[in-house]
Symmetry: C2
Subunit: 356 residues, 2 copies
């Protein structure tokens, strides 16, 4: 790798003058500039970002740590962050935290040692106090999941309100036995959504039955077991509220396998093909890209205005995207859906329509 000193020697100037040419410093004679530019081209000079960052003490890099970058919800967040970071000539370093909460701390620590310009986290652990030693120097923003034992910015969805709305929606469609299916209560979003579900039941005067609440449905296998458990219950549920998109995506194949075509379904979080499934899946829409945009914007603001004060916790409203899976039986709507998403729902892709 050729360095600035090589270029300087070749152009018979000092390294500093080469640096000036690079940084468009006007105090360089045109002839000198030309000579240096020629030397740079000839030697194929490329500045070493590592050296620059080292001197600055900061890397123009935004860290993004999420449970799983292959999950469409989190990859949408990352994509939005990237887009805005790129405008500021910043790059993005993505890390998947995985499933093991004890790995979170070492992973984030090693990320932060890069002297990141900022960090965006959707945590998997239940306590992020260990981050406090960094938060004075590095803007940290939580997304999707609020921090525990740590005072930093966060942008989360209205889990409680969304779950309440989804559950209420099912109740309005006449359901009284509604199951709650999720991954694990250790994820704060799931805990909040369970609360929303409970409060909706309470508001409607329906009993809360904990035999209708099942966890572990993150994988198709887990969802299968959850479905099997529910089917075995006395007074089987007639509807299911799925606590997150990942669960919904596991749950749907599991329901199909178990011939549970009579169960109504509302999921928290939209997901690919949700509107192409038959019935199209009614979901609480979260807009992860917006979450990402808000997070990176806050980081950039914090960098620009280190002393300014911001509201730490932001809870974003979520909307119900009404499709068809909330109706049972699905071909005889209880209420006329308001959402345009439903407009094409009779345009079914199913061969069975043609066959019947």
């Amino acid at each position: 790798m050729t360095t600035m000193h090589d270029v300087a020697a070749h152009a018979k100037v000092s390294a500093k003058t080469v640096s000036r040419v690079f940084n468009d410093d006007p105090h360089v004679a045109p002839a000198t500039r030309e000579r240096i530019l020629a030397a740079m081209k000839q030697l194929n000079y490329v500045p070493n970002t590592l050296a620059q960052n080292f001197r600055t003490g900061r890397a123009p890099v935004i860290g993004v740590a999420v449970p799983d970058i292959a999950d469409p919800f989190f990859s949408s967040i990352a994509r939005a962050v990237e887009e805005i970071a790129a405008e500021q000539n910043m790059s993005v370093s993505v890390t998947s935290l995985g499933n093991d909460p004890s790995r979170e701390e070492p992973v984030l620590e090693s990320l932060l040692r890069f002297q990141l310009s900022g960090l965006i986290v959707a945590p998997i652990s239940e306590n992020q106090a260990y981050l406090s030693r960094w938060t004075d120097h590095t803007p940290v923003v939580f997304v999707d999941r609020a921090p525990t034992k740590l005072a930093v910015d966060s942008f989360v969805e209205d889990d409680l309100g969304g779950a309440h709305a989804a559950t209420t929606h099912l109740i309005r469609h006449g359901h009284t036995r509604i199951a709650f299916i999720g991954d694990t209560l250790s994820i704060p979003t799931t805990a909040n959504r369970l609360e929303g579900y409970k409060s909706a039941l309470a508001d409607a005067g329906l009993p809360y039955r904990d035999d209708l609440v099942v966890f572990g449905a993150r994988t198709v296998e887990g969802a299968r077991q959850a479905v099997a458990t529910l089917i075995g219950r006395q007074l089987e549920p007639t509807a299911v509220f799925s606590s997150d998109a990942r669960c919904s995506m596991s749950l749907i194949p599991a329901l199909q396998e178990a011939h549970q075509s009579n169960l109504a379904l509302v999921g928290f979080g939209d997901f690919p093909m949700a509107n192409a499934l038959r019935p199209a899946i009614t979901v609480v829409d979260q807009d992860p890209a917006n979450l990402g945009r808000l997070a990176i914007t806050r980081i950039l603001d914090r960098i620009a205005n280190p002393t300014k004060r911001y509201r730490r916790r932001t809870i974003l409203p979520v909307g119900l995207v009404e499709r068809a899976s909330c109706l049972v039986p699905w071909d005889s709507p209880v209420t006329e859906p308001a959402n345009g998403d439903l407009a094409s729902d009779d345009d079914t892709f199913s061969p069975l329509q043609a066959a019947s």
Copy 2:
């Protein structure tokens, strides 16, 4: 940020000794080690990775540049890379290249200036010659799309063979008018898949009709237009081969809207919920995670064995995952599907079954 010198001063030793403690150098007296460890803890010392990397001249970072990290295909690649990189204490810097080929060069250059340990690229431009100045120093591996005018490692799927198999599969099911729907020929995979499609037609003695080949179906809107164009044709197609997962995901809603429930469909590339749709979508499966694993493994091998020679181009076989969308009419299979994926295909989630 407290530095090593702060710790050294506090423990009344030299910076070098602090460095030794950090690097588990055995030549440190136990008492000294204790004193230094105490000082480090008290001052909250964290090593500055930027300085370490600068000295090394290399960042323990693998760059991953793909068209769109929010695309499940590419996010699966990134996830697999990450997983293996993490085992080597390397982090991953992800960049989406977007749609503008002219942005590729500046984006990759700025990534490479970080003195990456390696770079994994799925390019969007048609010429990557500009990377040649880097390839001597930094291992570069292409995935999904082979490099043009550049001699580096690549791992791509058998686009030609896969498209040939998919098209042949449709022909075996009795289709003679098969449309090809893709994004753009400037993506080499699409060009190869079109060749595979053509050769399958030729092998079957079917005519190639370029009025059945339509591009621009990357978005739902584009897919709508593609469908509209095809429907207008004399001798409409009875089947469609979709050139990539993204197109399939756009095409399916478009077909639903256009009431094209009689069209058979095979897509190149699996995608979320493909097996939960009704009919479940028959696809050529690509295994993006494997692509990612192979790429990062090759980079690590290259780092460990700089002189060793490898076969540059690897073409991975692809398999046909037979579901139901290739059968027309779907409820009367022409042949008995071999794939287990079909086992549950009568367990339909569709309300119409219940209704009929």
